[in-house]
Every structure is written in structure tokens, then in C-alpha cells.
């Protein structure tokens, strides 16, 4: 991603994002934190091709994006995007079934994702019967079966309680390790970013730019137990010190 700027024509015209430069290494776990309204979701839309940057360009595996989500990129949204009229199994198979893959292959991948996300007992349930955390798992599984090489997650655990978030974080790490995919996680939770990532980008208040890039130095094999590591406290503190003045700006602007 190079010199990306996104402006909304308005009215009133809004300069939401950038300029931002970001390069994700293959297999990296990168998190983005920032004050509310800093353009995190805009960044995500631009990154996956849902929105076109006003200036600059976004490349995935060397190819420029043109307002379309390229093959190999999977997206998980903040809001509940489960499909109410389909069972868990059908939800997970949704994208694959339309992709024209052979049936046997579809069902192998779907059953694997169901087991992987711990949904075996709920495969024939409908979303209305599941908790928010379970529904988000369904959405992650639905992305997972497409075997994305880059997974973008926009505050996927934002609506969940703290305990569930920690556990979902663990599952996300496991998924990242086992699939070898590159992960970009957008979050407002500093601890989540500090615990999960290889690298954390701290965004400024609007227009969102990166004001700090923090390498965490965690080993690849890690889980939520690292929250008791003293390094975790240092990391969170550093992220917060970068972010604090920016968050104040946002609040000041609102008031």
C-alpha cells in the first residue's frame, strides 16, 4: 500500500485517511490500533478493495486493486454478517458453493472449518440460536474455507465480552499459525493488539496516518497467556502512550 489517501467528497468534504504507506510481509500478523473515528474501517475497505483510494495505490501480491476484492483475500467484518436463513454449515459453505468447486472438496473444507472453529455441535443450528461469539466464529470459518492468503479482520471481537475475546484471540493465533496466512487485524483494544501481533501500527486521529510502528518480538508459538509476561505490559504501555494524545484530540474535537 503506497501513499494511500482517501477523501470523501462530502458534503462536508472529509479527509478520512492518509497519506499512509504500509507493507505487509507474507505470513505476518499485523494489527492496527487507533482512536475512534480515525479511519480504521476506511483503511480496511481500501486495503481489501471495497473502496478506491482517492490517491495512491494498493497492491496485493504485486497486482494493483481496482475496486474489487481480489482472490486470496478474506474479510471478516465487525458487524454480524451471518446469514440468518442458512444453517451454520450452509453459512460456512456459502462462498465456496458459488465458487464452482467440486462438491466433495467443498464439504471436506467445510467440515474441517467446522471442527477447527469448534462448531461441530452447532453445524445444523441457525444463527438466531447462537451467541454473538459463535456467530463471529461462523463468519471466520466462512472466510477460512476460501483459503485466503491475506485475512483482514475489522474489529471482529468488538461486540464480545472480554473472556470470549481472549479465547477468540487464541483461536485466531492458531488459525494464523496453521494456515500460514498473513493477518491484518483492526482493533480498538490495545491489549488485543499487543498480545496477538508481530507488529502493531498506531494510527493518528483523523486523517488517519501511522504515528508509530511497534515490533512486538513475540515467538510464533504464543497464546493469551503472554498477558502475564512483563513485556506485554511494556508493549501495552507504549501503545497507549502513542495513542493517548491522539485519543484526546478526538474527544476534544467531539466536545
Amino acid at each position: 500500500m503506497q501513499a494511500v489517501v482517501r477523501r470523501y467528497a462530502g458534503p462536508p468534504p472529509v479527509h478520512a485517511l492518509g497519506p499512509i504507506d504500509l507493507h505487509l510481509a507474507r505470513g505476518e500478523f499485523f494489527s492496527v490500533v487507533g482512536p475512534s473515528g480515525c479511519g480504521k474501517s476506511t483503511l480496511m475497505d481500501v486495503l481489501c478493495g471495497l473502496a478506491q483510494p482517492t490517491a495512491g495505490s494498493v497492491r496485493f501480491e504485486g497486482n494493483a486493486l481496482h475496486g474489487e476484492v481480489p482472490e486470496g483475500v478474506g474479510v471478516v467484518f465487525q458487524e454480524d454478517a451471518s446469514l440468518a436463513w442458512l444453517s451454520v454449515r450452509q453459512n460456512i459453505a456459502f462462498g465456496l458453493r458459488l465458487s464452482g468447486l467440486p462438491k466433495a472438496e467443498v464439504s471436506t473444507r467445510v467440515e474441517h472449518a467446522i471442527a477447527f472453529m469448534g462448531l461441530s455441535h452447532f453445524a445444523d443450528h441457525y444463527p438466531a440460536q447462537l451467541s454473538g461469539g459463535m456467530r463471529q466464529r461462523v463468519c471466520i470459518a466462512r472466510t477460512l474455507v476460501l483459503r485466503p492468503r491475506l485475512i483482514l479482520l475489522d474489529e471482529p471481537f468488538g461486540a464480545l465480552d472480554q473472556q470470549t475475546r481472549l479465547l477468540m484471540g487464541d483461536e485466531l493465533l492458531r488459525l494464523w499459525r496453521e494456515t500460514g496466512a498473513t493477518v491484518l487485524l483492526i482493533t480498538h483494544a490495545l491489549d488485543e493488539a499487543a498480545m496477538l501481533s508481530d507488529r502493531v501500527g498506531v494510527m493518528s486521529a483523523r486523517p488517519g496516518r501511522f504515528i508509530d510502528l511497534v515490533e512486538t518480538g513475540w515467538p510464533r508459538e504464543r497464546d493469551s497467556r503472554i498477558v502475564s509476561d512483563p513485556h506485554f505490559g511494556e508493549l501495552t504501555a507504549r501503545l497507549w502512550s502513542s495513542l493517548r494524545s491522539e485519543s484526546m484530540k478526538t474527544l476534544g474535537r467531539v466536545a
Binding site: V69, F77, E79, L98, Y126, A128
Partner: protein
Amino acid sequence: MTRARAVLLVRIALLAGLVALLEALCRLGVIDPLSILPPSEMLGAMIERVASGDLDEGMVQTFSTIAIAYVLAVVLGTAAGALLQKLPRLRAVVDPLLASYYSVPTFIFYPLLVALFALGKTPLVILGMMSATPAVIISTLAGLDGVPPVLLKLARAQRLGRWHTLWWIVLPQALPRLFSGFKLALSYALIGVIAGEFLLSGTGLGYAISFAYQSFDSQAMYGAMLFVLLVAIAANGMLTTWESRIARRRARQ
């Protein structure tokens, strides 16, 4: 489940009680049997009418007219609703008109339609359509408004084309609301067509009722009336069953 069943039983008992009361009042002579037939005789008259084949032509006429009006209302109403949803400015203009449309007794335009298209099927189809279409438009708008933006994002993230998105995401998501409009539309189409036949027509069930009324043939009149009533209830019941089957799957707790 037992509570729902109890409610159903009480409802049936209430209706049966009312019918029985009417029967008793007629039999006891409180109500002049020339004005209202006892329900049992209505039923007899209906069976006789239907069995005799007198109503066959009228049935074919009326049902085909309703069916054409209904299908047109559903197709055009859905298309118009989808179009309006895409054009917010036009919608802002039209919205209040749509909302107040129900206060207009559509069948007052029937004489005009007859004058324009001559007596026959066409003005009746148009009348049925005029009655039914707004309900479809309104429910289409509600259904499309109810599609969460995240599902449209999902469609793009899953690289669905426009038609796939419509067919696999928008339509199923909007279906319950669409369906409530389709259900209303059937009732309105039925009312519109039969009212039109009643007013001015040479065939159809509405005409049969009106003709019997004018020739003081209360047997024929009540027989045809009861038949129309039962058909309307059956049609509505069918759609309701289908609708609740759709709704049940989503709200299964």
C-alpha cells in the same frame, strides 16, 4: 405450544359459536330467513351452486383475472419498489403518496377504466392491480431497507456479481418482509377484482352475487358469497402457513 393450541381452540370455538348463534336466530325467526339464510342452508346452497356447475364459468373468469392482476402486481410492485429504493430523491417525493394511497377507494376509478378499455377482463385486471401494487411496493422498500450494509459488503468480499448478490443475499434477507406484502396484495387483488365484477361486469363471481341479489335469489347469493369467503380465507391461509414456515426457521431459538 400448548398455549398456542389453547388460543387456537378458543378462536375456533368463538367462530363456531357465532355461526351457531346466527343459525339459532334464523331458525327461531328472530332474523327473517328471507334477509339472511341460516348458515347451514348457506352451506347447502353453496355446495349445490358449485356442484351444479353454474359458477364454473364465473370461477374461471374471476380466478384467472385475480391471478393475472396478482402476478402483475407482484412483478411490477417489486420492480417499482427496487427502483424507488435506488432513487432516493424520487422516493422522497413519492413516499407520502404511497402511504396515503390506502385512503383512496380504488374502485371509484373502475367506471373510468371501463370507459377506457371497454367492459371485459382488462379493466378488472387493472383495478385488481391498482389495489394490490402499492402493498408490494411498500413491502419491497421495507425489505430492501432492512438488508444490513454489512451483507452487501460480504457479497463484494465474496466476489459475488450483481445477480448473485441479489439472488443469494438480498432476496433471502428481504423475503419475510416481501412476503407480507405479497400476502396483502393477494387480498387486495381479490377485493379489487370482485368489487369490480360486482359493480359492472357480465361474468365472474362478483357478478354472480350481484345478479342473484338483484333477482332476489338469496339462495344463490349466499351460496356464492360463502364460496368467495372460503376461497379468500383458504388463499390467505396458504400464504400465512408458508410465511410462518419462513419466519420460524430464522427465529428458531
